[in-house]
Amino acid sequence: MADFGYSLVKSGKTDLDTAGNALARSVSEAEPGFNLCIACGCCVATCSAGRFTNFGFRELIHRIKRGEEKLMIAEAEKCMLCGKCTLVCPRNINTRNIVLLIRKHAIIKGL
């Protein structure tokens, strides 16, 4: 192929027409709380892991819903399962179970 010294740029926008939703589906089926997040950020504010990394539970949920499966499976690794987010979540979401389910999905699917 010809090299003109520039290349095409891939769109960074979320395309819900093509985004994968297998992870979101498998997690929300086993833990319906997955769909209840109101994006208040309390979990992130209290998170022991998030203080020193850019990990955030709120983002994890919402980016999985936007189809960023691979990236978020790697992100979920940063959670220490300490449970502080469960203590503060105003929607009473079983946050730790969600992290465990993400990992379980990754293992089952070999991701």
Partner: protein
């Protein structure tokens, strides 16, 4: 700070704690971190309080570290927990007393999930039966070792030889309490005083004459967090967590830190050394660190146990400053002598953290 407000919250979180016939369960790390703590706990219960504590040679740890590091699946953990419960039943006890906060969290969580999902409990029973032929009963009472010492804090105070009071000034010692995350953050109702203003250690400190001081990062994790610590590349997060706490407590000039989780007491001790060596920064008085003790070590000191018998020589931040303030009699010469009086040699002094006077 309005004390009445805190007290009214403490009143809301009471917890039932058995008063005798304990089935004692070991932690996987604590015997190595602070070996004297466990001995002190058993000695206080058996000899000072004359309670019946059964230390079953067949029991195992809860697999908590393996579970949190994800090498042990939850189902296995549940079966192991079921086995310990079965051993307790066979030994004729009902009051289960784990000595590690992480274990306590695991037991609380497993009992809660069995309560809500009987089919999960049934599976654990089946697994245990297949593997060992044993059956278990749900404990009548589950209390952490710190709950037990809390319960008997006044009895201990009545027999105190030393108080948490500065002998020279007559003022209460200033104490920072640190509660292991898994003690009440997952199930506030299961912790004395709840999750926000836990009273379990504060109650001991008060009963023994000290003053608990608050500081902004009081609720923050010590940073141990298995996943953070176990992988060396992540240890930076762990030490940064501890640093955040030290920086926040430093202006309060605490005389010592008391913790109810073996991991916390250990990391709040050792990271002070690492921070001193990495950054040249120390958080105690002129080049010293802030001594970080377990509640059993503190109880032992209050009761007049010998500091070296309590294993206080194993602390990286020397505890002598505290011993002097309390007026505890000790023999500096025998600090590094073995049980038979043999000289074990002296540890090398760190560069920045004052270790010898």
């Amino acid at each position: 700070m309005k004390q009445e407000g805190k007290r009214s919250i403490w009143n809301d979180y009471q917890k039932e704690i058995a008063d005798d016939k304990f089935y004692y369960v070991r932690s996987c790390i604590r015997q190595n971190f602070f070996p004297g703590s466990e001995t002190a706990f058993l000695k206080i219960l058996r000899e000072v309080l004359e309670k019946d504590v059964f230390d079953d040679r067949h029991h195992t740890t809860c697999t908590g570290i393996g579970y949190h590091a994800e090498v042990v699946p939850l189902e296995t953990t549940m079966t192991v927990v079921g086995r310990n419960f079965a051993l307790m039943k066979e030994a004729g006890y009902q009051n289960y007393v784990p000595s590690c906060v992480t274990s306590f969290g695991i037991y609380t969580e497993i009992l809660d999930s069995w309560h809500h999902f009987p089919e999960v409990e049934a599976r654990a029973r089946e697994n245990l039966d297949k593997a060992t032929g044993r059956t278990f009963e749900i404990p009548g009472n589950l209390a952490h070792t710190s709950d037990i010492i809390f319960k008997f804090r006044n009895e201990i105070a009545a027999k105190a030889k030393y108080m948490l009071v500065n002998k020279t000034t007559g003022k209460p010692l200033r104490v920072v309490d640190h509660i292991g995350c898994h003690y009440a953050k997952m199930f506030p109702q299961k912790g004395i005083g709840g999750a926000e203003y836990p009273y379990v250690l504060a109650g001991m400190v008060e009963a023994w004459g000290g003053e608990v001081i608050d500081y902004p990062e009081r609720r923050h994790c010590c940073g141990f967090g298995f996943r953070q610590y176990l992988v060396k590349a992540n240890r930076g997060y762990s030490i940064s967590c501890s640093k955040k706490k030290f920086e926040s407590m430093e202006p309060e000039k605490p005389d010592f830190i008391i913790a109810n989780c073996p991991g916390c007491a250990y990391f709040l001790d050792r990271w002070q050394y690492a921070l001193a060596e990495m950054e040249g920064k120390t958080y105690g008085e002129d080049g010293h660190g802030i001594p970080s003790l377990t509640y059993e070590e503190v109880a032992g000191l209050v009761l007049g146990f010998d500091p070296w018998e309590l294993g206080l020589q194993l602390h990286q931040v020397p505890v002598e400053s505290l011993l002097k303030k309390m007026g505890v009699a000790y023999d500096p010469e025998s600090k590094f002598r073995g049980a038979n009086g043999e000289d074990l040699g002296q540890p090398e002094s760190p560069l920045n953290l004052k270790f010898y006077e």
